[in-house]
């Protein structure tokens, strides 16, 4: 089955060149090897689903990509050229990777536009905020996303789903290449999960590359072009969505650990 899947992977036709590649990534926490020799290509314009059980290495992988943690070994390539990922800010600005965290942490006391531009403020006269410029740009992006969120509203007034949209809007605002979503349906109500999937599809239509990390296998299968399965710190399968089912994914996730239909 896995050979099957990887064969299809190789013959994949729809996706573009690798925008981000990782090679032989290793991350240890003490005696635990959380990421064990992981290699993966993220192709331009695709929605890449990443699934796996708790502790399989998804979150660690994510924290390495976002620059929060640093790998013990391995390398990153961005458009084919080797890069260092040193900090979340550098990841965003230089590599164009926007991270949408599971907890959707924002500054509730600040307005939507202030949160959107936080850390990358537009200035005028050197030292001052270009408040008007930022607010109107924020309004534009929110309108493009077909939301009714007010640019001037305090974030404390927003629902979980709306916060998610704001976090995604940040990626569009700064025209990032890659948008990573960590468990995007975790912090919002089940009823809103479809909205998230809709957002992911529209990101893809805009030519964005999306990395979707999720527990909810149905959600992943609903939007992903390819799905990478983590188990025990390794990637046990990378397969085109076509032909995948929840059962197959579960088997990959747990079968590997039980002793191995896959290598």
């Amino acid at each position: 089955m896995t050979t099957d899947a990887s064969a299809r992977d190789v013959n994949g036709t729809t996706q573009g060149e690798p925008v981000l590649s990782v090679r032989h990534l290793v991350k240890r926490f003490g005696a635990v090897t959380a990421i064990d020799d992981v290699s993966l290509d993220v192709r331009s314009g695709e929605v890449l689903g990443i699934v796996g059980d708790n502790g399989a290495g998804k979150s660690t992988f994510l924290s390495l990509l976002s620059g929060y943690n640093h790998p013990d070994a391995g390398e990153f390539r961005y458009h084919g050229r080797p890069v260092r990922i040193s900090s979340p800010a550098q990841t965003r600005r230089e590599l164009g990777i926007e991270m949408v965290y599971q907890d959707l942490a924002m500054s509730p006391d600040l307005s939507v536009w202030q949160n959107l531009f936080l850390g990358e403020e537009r200035r005028r006269w050197m030292f001052f905020l270009d408040r008007r410029g930022m607010r109107s740009r924020a309004r534009e992006v929110l309108r493009e996303m077909n939301t009714k969120i007010e640019a001037g509203a305090p974030v404390s007034d927003l629902s979980g789903g709306e916060r998610q949209l704001v976090a995604v809007a940040r990626g569009l605002l700064f025209d990032r290449d890659i948008i990573m979503l960590d468990e995007p349906t975790a912090a919002i109500s089940v009823a809103k999960a479809d909205d998230v999937l809709h957002t992911i599809r529209s990101l893809r239509e805009r030519g964005k590359t999306v990395i979707l990390i999720s527990h909810r296998l149905e959600d992943v299968l609903a939007v992903a072009d390819r799905v990478a399965v983590f188990a025990a710190g390794k990637i046990v399968s990378v397969a085109e969505n076509e032909g995948l089912t929840v059962e197959k994914l579960l088997r990959l996730m747990f079968g590997a650990r039980a002793g191995g239909t896959t290598t």
Binding site: A89, S107, D109, L110, Q114, L118, E121, L129
Partner: protein
């Protein structure tokens, strides 16, 4: 005026048992009257208890304070009293603004009064004992304070000692330093050796320089807080430090700078105080750290930071000043000052909670 007629009309109609012809007629006649009165009362209530950090709240409280003070003693509103109230509390405004920066990021600075008095002792020592030119002495004093503030900030942001602990150390330590400077004695200008910076307490065009300095500090601080990226970073850290760090804000650097700002303004206040008092003693301004903190809270910046204004903190300082002034005007023993400030602070805390409940 419309509000007052409706306010009197409303409750009268409402409390009228059974509804005689008279009140019923008035009710019909005024039409939307009572509901409009309710609306405006509700609006006022919302301002009073509304979103923390809204500058309209300290403004409303200050106006209320002035009205109450005037009712208690009409002497309060006399121009000469208002003038001396503003001038005598100019240095409290300055330290309250410094404290506002620290509380905005969710930290606290208990040491401002000790920084104030040490700075006063230092500048007096430099000018009176060593004949240093006053301009240079001002620069040296402010620079020394900034260095101390940076060290405090480093201990808080990099060594991760809670700001409460570090600045409690500053509070005790710099009282000690103030005592050390002149062997526990104060310093006054001698005939041949003046301070040289008394002009700071003079006036320009009939307006006290102290007040001008304090207003300039408030305005600059407010501009920094609401119009610059640094102001946004301050609020983001107080609001959600994790989110701020993820957005790439150098939270440690920002935290270190707020302690430097607070120390700088405390030293500036120390120079102002020394010029104003014409002398400096190591035991001066006892309790002012807590008054500055009270001012900030009254001014609408929550203890956890994230929102509020420098203007609010300054208005809060004026509220504290009004209480102190009333104590003097009424000839009440000054112990009541502490108890009044406590009561007002608790009320401020209560209405902040009420604001959250209403929301």
């Amino acid at each position: 005026m419309r509000v007052s007629t409706r306010a009197t009309g409303g409750p009268a109609g409402g409390s009228g048992p059974g509804g005689t012809a008279g009140p019923a007629g008035t009710l019909q006649g005024t039409g939307a009257g009572p509901s409009a009165a309710v609306t405006s009362l509700r609006r006022l209530w919302h301002v009073m208890v509304g979103r923390e950090g809204d500058v309209r709240r300290p403004i409303a409280f200050l106006i209320l304070g002035v009205i109450v003070a005037t009712i208690i003693t009409p002497d309060f509103i006399r121009p000469s009293n208002i003038d001396s109230l503003l001038v005598d509390n100019s240095y409290l405004l300055v330290i309250a603004v410094g404290e506002a920066f620290v509380i905005m990021v969710g930290s606290i600075d208990l040491g401002v009064e000790s920084m104030l008095v040490s700075a006063g002792m230092l500048i007096a020592w430099l000018t009176v004992f060593h004949g240093m030119p006053s301009g240079l002495a001002v620069v040296v004093t402010l620079a020394a304070a900034v260095v101390i503030g940076l060290l405090v900030g480093l201990l808080v942001a990099k060594v991760h000692i809670p700001s409460f602990v570090v600045t409690l150390g500053v509070y005790w330590g710099f009282r000690g330093v103030a005592l050390l400077v002149n062997n526990q004695q104060g310093i006054s200008p001698a005939g041949s050796r003046p301070f040289g910076f008394e002009g700071i307490a003079g006036s320009t065009g009939g307006v006290s320089n102290l007040l001008i300095i304090a207003l300039a500090v408030v305005i600059v601080a407010q501009v920094v807080m609401s119009l610059t990226p640094f102001g946004l970073w301050l609020k983001s850290i107080g609001s959600n430090e994790l989110a701020a760090r993820r957005a790439g804000i150098r939270a440690d650097t920002v935290k270190i700078s707020v302690f430097a700002i607070s120390a700088f303004l405390a030293a500036l206040a120390g120079i102002m105080y020394t010029a104003w008092a014409g002398t400096i003693v190591p035991s001066a301004v006892e309790g002012y750290s807590l008054e500055a903190i009270a001012a900030v809270i009254l001014g609408g910046i929550p203890f956890t930071g994230g929102r509020g204004t420098a203007v609010g903190a300054a208005l809060g300082a004026l509220m504290v000043a009004i209480i102190n002034d009333l104590i003097v005007l009424l000839g009440v023993p000054s112990l009541w000052e502490y108890i009044f400030v406590a009561a007002v602070l608790i009320v401020a805390g209560l209405q902040a909670r009420a604001g959250r409940l209403v929301k």
